[in-house]
Symmetry: C2
Subunit: 287 residues, 2 copies
Amino acid sequence: MEILIAKNAGFCFGVQNAIDKAERVAEEGRGVYTYGPIIHNRQVVENLKSKGVDVKDDIDEVKEGDKIIIRSHGVPKKEYEELAARGSEIIDATCPYVKHIHKVVEEKSKAGYKIVIIGDPSHPEVKGINGWCDEKAVIINGEEDINKIDSKLHRICVVSQTTFNEEKWYSIICRLVRMAREMLIINTICNATELRQKETMELSKQVDVMIVVGGKESSNTRKLFEISKSNCDNTIFIETAEELDLSLVKGAKKVGITAGASTPDYIIQNVVDKIKEIDVENEKVSS
Amino acid sequence: MEILIAKNAGFCFGVQNAIDKAERVAEEGRGVYTYGPIIHNRQVVENLKSKGVDVKDDIDEVKEGDKIIIRSHGVPKKEYEELAARGSEIIDATCPYVKHIHKVVEEKSKAGYKIVIIGDPSHPEVKGINGWCDEKAVIINGEEDINKIDSKLHRICVVSQTTFNEEKWYSIICRLVRMAREMLIINTICNATELRQKETMELSKQVDVMIVVGGKESSNTRKLFEISKSNCDNTIFIETAEELDLSLVKGAKKVGITAGASTPDYIIQNVVDKIKEIDVENEKVSS
Ligand code: F3S
Ligand code: F3S
């Protein structure tokens, strides 16, 4: 039996990078915290805690000497200053793609552009971005928000939350282009999600059985399941290896595995290990 | 009878400015030429000729000491150099709005943006603009041209021919935004046409008779006629004062006048003078 794991299954580059950083810092000693949960996955947060990385949600909890990890979402500019003022050591794990957006909005707002962020105003990433242009961005989450933009503006710079839906982005942009004479439009949607979906599409065409690993509540994982199911009838949706009914995999020549954005690598590995129990002699794992 | 003349009837600011410049230079002496006809209106060109301003269409005709007027459309950068190399004196009457586009495409192409011009590739203004980014712009005149854009481009700067249709511009832009991650979109459509139409709309609502002056072949004048007719049934379309049938104007309390983009002021004035013949005692002209 051949087991094929999608290259971009599970965490994106930015989240993996933040977790790796947190683990490395924890090895150096105590007093290590992430500023907010590193990802919306209880197991990952618990796992980090067991390695000595706890969560501080509120800046008021931060004490002198704390090592504070800024997660991949990033934070507003003034929170760096507040964290530093409290005497904590900042370990910046902001995803470089998000950091790039911070730079753009800081530079362009200084150059006289009104900043528009296409995204969910309650999302920490969006709040973080807004904190790099003095919290003066107009935030647009849907076409109904477009009238928030002052029609007398001349220069607008538009960026997106990295996980915003691409088609929704384009339909908002088409309305936005009428709002100002000069528009700098920077599509900062991250392709991690698209890549994961594309790979799932390709992989599910080649295998007899496809396993999608991720939270049942996770919309990005459910999307992977739908994509896979459309190509491969034998698609199985599980949260953990324990859920996997091996009788469904038995007899398959090729098994594909993909995973949602908040599925840690070790859960994927557990699934692989369980499948290998079926035929320990005749295995071949490619990734 | 009250005669109301639309403020933006006839020439736009840029064309009027070029004609004024040509007339001033002609007063100073001989050897004055426009580089190409100043506007597509035979009477205007003939009138300038009678004042000593002839047309040179070909750069090879330009001689040392010639005073060469660059018309409102502008010309490519290298033609300034060629004109200077021939020892001519350049009088630059490029419309400042067009000059601004030249600056933008020169600056942005140097900054690494691929330039896209939305406009008619055979129009002298578009050729001129392209001549400020080393003739390397992609020129798009309709949605069918969009596939001319290399899909691997990262940064695109889009400008428009000043007389491009606004709705057509937006529908092209909506397709374009998918072509690159970073787009600087500068709507350089001039509002002279829109202003002329808006004023015609307003004026035609207030008057008993509306007179639209301009070439029967001129699409922008015909558009003014349609707008006016929709508000004022007594709308008259004439090319010159001679064509005006005064019996149609007699008895009106308010007469409005507007004119297409290539109608010179003196033709409008002739129309005013002819109407005044009706009631020389009781006149009042506002503009
Ligand atoms: S956090 Fe992840 S989703 Fe993209 S922007 Fe960074 S790789
Ligand atoms: S030539 Fe006229 S149409 Fe506008 S761009 Fe200049 S005022």
